[in-house]
């Protein structure tokens, strides 16, 4: 039979899911004999979440921010509260971390977070207010600062304020920041997902170098199906199948090929030279929880706003 599925995803995952969809279609055909048409919707994941709340009838979401899935429960009652428990690894089949892209030969000699606050360094990163990507970078830096300065709140704040002060361009999204860094030649380091950084390095061999700091943030890429809509669309099995298959070795290899870190042991080993071992701090260690992180740091008037206040 002909079946249809709508995957609502974050903006830069288009090629990834285009590839995965092919893989999945074959798998599903073999398994059930059904042909599947998979529609892809890509935009900033907050915008996607809003669209779903306002009635965009996506069957599954594959986001890059946990909060954007949480909101589907909070605002829309479209999924249960414990959605993260429904699939392994907090429902995130792959993850990444934050890394730096620096220009060839690393002229500013940037190795770790403390190098980024040097006077002579200019940074490019996405806006933490508008993109999860930016938020993760912020949290990664926060994690580093907490590790380094312990309980000294003032120093931590100072460090973060300095870091934000070094940013030349805050693009509204990850790809914008990349374009700014690559195409416009702005900045000494681009702070973004490791996956993105590796992609670029692959794309422009020899022109850039990748620096992964020793301490960084565990950026999970959560997925779930939208209970309300799969019910309406009659696609529950398909949606679940689509997401579960992400955990298969075959899919994990595909994901790793797109420079995402994965959980599957076999694949992990295969790609071990690409993903150096670093300390990845989850949100719970840095800010307690996502709710807490959003509230204290990113809400209007929160820590981020205070730090960015003009001095």
């Amino acid at each position: 039979a002909e079946r249809q599925l709508l995957n609502s995803s974050y903006d830069i995952a288009r090629e990834l899911f285009a590839a995965y969809n092919e893989q999945f279609k074959e798998y599903w055909l073999e398994k059930t004999g059904d042909t599947v048409t998979i529609d892809q919707s890509h935009a900033g994941s907050s915008k996607q979440a809003q669209a779903i709340i306002q009635g965009l009838k996506a069957d599954v979401v594959t986001f890059n921010q946990v909060t954007d899935i949480n909101i589907l429960h909070e605002r829309g009652q479209l999924i249960p509260e414990d959605w993260a428990e429904r699939l392994p690894n907090n429902s995130s089949p792959y993850y990444s971390t934050m890394a730096y892209l620096v220009r060839k030969g690393n002229p500013k000699n940037i190795e770790n977070w403390d190098d980024l606050v040097r006077e002579d360094v200019e940074l490019v990163m996405p806006n933490p207010k508008t993109s999860g990507n930016g938020r993760y970078t912020y949290l990664a830096a926060l994690g580093y600062a907490q590790e380094t300065f312990g309980d000294d709140q003032e120093k931590t704040d100072q460090f973060l304020a300095d870091l934000l002060g070094r940013v030349k361009v805050f693009d509204s999204g990850g790809r914008g920041a990349t374009t700014t860094f690559i195409e416009r030649g702005i900045g000494d380091a681009l702070l973004t997902f490791e996956s993105e950084v590796l992609n670029i390095a692959d794309r422009y061999p020899g022109e850039y170098e990748v620096v992964t700091p020793k301490i960084s943030f565990l950026a999970e890429f959560p997925v779930t199906w939208i209970d309300e809509y799969v019910e309406q669309n009659g696609t529950e099995d398909l949606a679940k199948g689509y997401l579960t298959h992400l955990y298969s070795e075959e899919a994990q290899r595909l994901l790793a090929g797109f420079n995402y870190r994965v959980h599957d042991g076999v694949v992990k080993a295969e790609f071990s030279d690409r993903f150096p071992e670093v300390t990845l701090l989850p949100v719970s260690e840095i800010a307690g929880s996502w709710e807490n992180a959003m509230e204290t740091h990113f809400a209007s008037g929160g820590k981020l706003d205070q730090l960015q206040r003009r001095r």
Binding site: S46, R75, K129, L164, K168, V169, S172, R184, G185
Partner: protein, 290 residues
């Protein structure tokens, strides 16, 4: 009949009888217009009002007076002002040359003036950013002069100026075309120099149209997002525009706050336009005696 009518002149009866129109289609065109305006323009605005009015006054105030938002007002106002003033000058120059002179490429330039209307704003933004970036066609040039426009408020000004240029040209142009040569000639026969004639005779006539054009350009710039976002740099307190603040509130799922800020911008824009309509009415009444 006569007894009562001397009592109540015109008013009531007048409005009754006036509904008998000579030209056909009053009902139909009124119906279509009202239906359309209500459904397309006003109904959606109720959403904005409803969202914003869900907040208490102090919440509202808190949202719109957030320092970062306030900073974005300043940035937006200044850049929009600069852009619309630039357009005031450049648009006037363009309109002047298009109306007054013959030169090769005139028709081409005349046609190109509408380009910013027709081009998607995002494309405009990307294009301008590409041009002005450090290795872009203009950027590398400016770089050798030590000037950097992209990712600064100057970039915002350029994007805003680009997208709203047609407003000025297209409002000034017809007025210039309609301006009778006699006024100028009269001034010249009275011994006035060109500069003086322009200042004292031509400019006052152009002034209302120019102000309208600049105001439209200004309000359009206040709301500009697509073109600006690619070239602004978006540094907090320096190059964040209010549209971005609205966008951010949306990202935070804070519709009420987004509506509140949007309502502010809308209020400013509409009151500006309305004030100008009023002012212009008075100015023109003096000029035209209507």
């Amino acid at each position: 009949m006569t007894g009562s009518t001397t009592q109540a002149p015109g008013r009531t009866r007048g409005s009754l009888v006036r509904s008998k129109r000579v030209l056909p289609g009053f009902g139909l065109s009124l119906g279509i217009s009202l239906l359309f305006i209500s459904l397309v323009l006003l109904l959606p605005l109720t959403g904005l009002v409803a969202e914003a009015s869900g907040m208490s006054w102090s919440q509202f105030w808190f949202v719109i007076s957030d320092p970062r938002v306030v900073a974005s007002y300043k940035v937006t106002l200044w850049t929009a002002l600069a852009a619309s003033l630039f357009n005031g000058v450049f648009g006037l120059l363009l309109a002047w040359c298009l109306v007054r002179y013959e030169f090769p490429g005139k028709r081409l330039i005349d046609a190109m003036v509408d380009l910013p209307f027709a081009l998607p704003t995002a494309v405009a933004g990307i294009t301008l950013a590409t041009l002005l970036s450090r290795d872009g066609w203009y950027g590398q040039w400016l770089d050798t002069l030590g000037i950097n426009l992209a990712y600064t408020p100057a970039g915002i000004v350029i994007a805003m100026a680009f997208t709203s240029l047609p407003f000025v040209v297209r409002t000034v142009q017809p007025v210039l075309e309609e301006m009778p040569p006699e006024d100028e000639e009269a001034a010249i026969t009275l011994g006035a120099s060109d500069g003086r004639v322009f200042r004292k005779v031509i400019f006052p006539t152009l002034w209302p149209a120019l102000v309208t054009g600049v105001a439209l350009s200004f309000t359009r710039s206040l709301g500009e997002f697509g073109a600006v976002i690619f070239i602004a740099g978006n540094t907090p307190y320096v190059s964040e525009v209010t549209s971005l603040m609205i966008f951010i509130r949306l990202q935070e799922y804070d519709y009420a706050a987004a509506s509140a800020i949007a309502a502010m911008v809308l209020l400013v824009s509409l009151s500006l336009l309305f004030a100008i309509t009023l002012w212009q009415g008075r100015y023109l009444r003096r000029l035209l005696g209507r």
